[in-house]
Amino acid sequence: QWDEPRVCSRRYLKVDFADIGWNEWIISPKSFDAYYCAGACEFPMPKIVRPSNHATIQSIVRAVGIVPGIPEPCCVPDKMNSLGVLFLDENRNVVLKVYPNMSVETCACR
């Protein structure tokens, strides 16, 4: 993790449903690659962090320092993927649901 880039980017995270105690009723998948976003959104922001216009303005205001206490924009998921989950409901019937926004495709400063 230490040689991760400083700038806002996607980091690897594998989620195992057994770690959060959901494996008793989740049939499949048992784990999935969820990823997460972390890193700096400081001025000047490189294009790769795909800042929104608001984030660009906020980081300039913060860099100029006129208004005290303005934080850096946040490094958050931008594009996300859904995940199909096969699980048992309370009556132990098999259910399939496709949940949106379960894993990170790209990160951005917002």
Binding site: S28, L88, N93, V95, L96, P100, M102
Partner: protein, 335 residues
């Protein structure tokens, strides 16, 4: 009555499961995922759908939920009746399609003897060749929870006898939508061939099942995954008893707010003016005894009333003024 055409686009056909006989062969390693009691055709079908949905996310509005329903089998008037409890459907789930899947075998009526006319002695009686296979009917009824009636007839379908044993699928969408609209989420299905069922039918891996393809309008709400999959407090001590209702907290720990026990006006050090609970007689503390070590374990403070009472008669002996060094005292006097 309802004669739903067997649509070629029924999901079973689309999932090329039609004609599947032996679920065990199909399950493979997924069997472990399902657990021992669930290796039946409905499990196979759902795993098939899971693989399909995982390969290609469904188009928006094409449905993001598939619920399967296993039946409970009851014998009424010597006929096998399968009951499906559809109450686990969420209100936010809009039904797109509902299909009834069942395994049927050709039912050849038994060749039977015909009492032949006794025209002449010892003429051998002929056996009538078996007639055409008997037609079966599927009868669907719906009833609300805990009503004793047989329920409202929602539909009947004539079934062409299958050339060999195979799984079939029937579209029952309109029946299920009508039953749900009327709040009758208990559905019964009866395969009726007009003959009495020989022997009591037993639950088998060939039990029928219902699939409901729905579009969950709440799935894009924040935290929708927790609504259906978070079933108990993840910080609860120990494993939850599977029987407890989801989200119940049997945690023995009682959360306490940490509030001050009494007004903090006096500058007495807590615990110094109390007697230890076990001391029966009142003894007077001398200064050096009060501070045997720099850190004293604080004792629970008594209530305000007894503190005032105790405070009076102990005031002379052990009231504690804070002592400062000479220099600080001089400064204080100057001020």
């Amino acid at each position: 009555s309802h004669t739903a055409p067997v649509q070629s686009n029924t999901p079973a056909a689309a999932d090329n499961l039609v004609g599947y006989k032996d679920p065990q062969r199909f399950l493979g390693d997924a069997a472990a995922a399902l657990g021992p009691g669930a290796q039946d055709m409905v499990a196979v079908h759902m795993l098939r759908l899971y693989e399909k949905y995982s390969r290609r996310s469904p188009r928006p509005g094409a449905g993001n939920t598939v619920r399967s329903f296993r039946p409970t089998l009851e014998v009424i008037n010597q006929k096998a009746v399968y009951f499906f409890n559809l109450t686990s459907m969420q209100d936010s789930e809009m039904i797109l399609t509902a299909t009834f899947h069942f395994y049927s075998e050709p039912r050849w009526p038994q060749a039977h003897e015909v009492p032949c006319k006794q025209r002449a002695k010892n003429t051998s009686c002929r056996l009538l060749p078996p007639g055409p296979p008997s037609r079966q009917h599927l009868l669907f009824r719906s009833l609300s929870q805990n009503t004793a009636t047989q329920g409202l007839l929602r539909g009947a379908m004539a079934l062409a006898p299958p050339p060999r044993g195979l799984w079939q699928a029937k579209d029952i969408s309109s029946m299920v939508k009508a039953a749900r609209r009327d709040g009758e989420l208990l559905l019964s299905a009866q395969l009726d061939s007009g003959e009495k069922d020989h022997g009591v039918p037993r639950p088998s891996p060939h039990a029928p099942y219902i699939l409901i393809y729905a579009n969950d309008l709440a799935i894009s709400e924040p935290n929708s995954v927790a609504v259906t999959l978070q079933r108990y407090d993840p910080f609860q001590a120990g494993d939850p008893d599977p029987g407890t209702a989801p989200n119940s907290s049997t945690d023995p720990r009682v959360r306490r707010a940490t509030q001050a026990t009494g007004p903090l006006q006096d500058n007495e050090l807590p615990g110094l003016d109390e007697r230890p609970a076990h001391a029966s007689h009142t003894q007077h503390y001398h200064k050096q005894e009060l501070w045997p070590s720099p850190f004293r374990a604080l004792k629970p403070r008594a209530g305000r009333k007894d503190r005032r009472k105790k405070g009076q008669d102990l005031f002379v002996a052990s009231s504690q003024m804070l002592h400062f060094d000479e220099k600080t005292m001089q400064k204080a006097r100057r001020k």
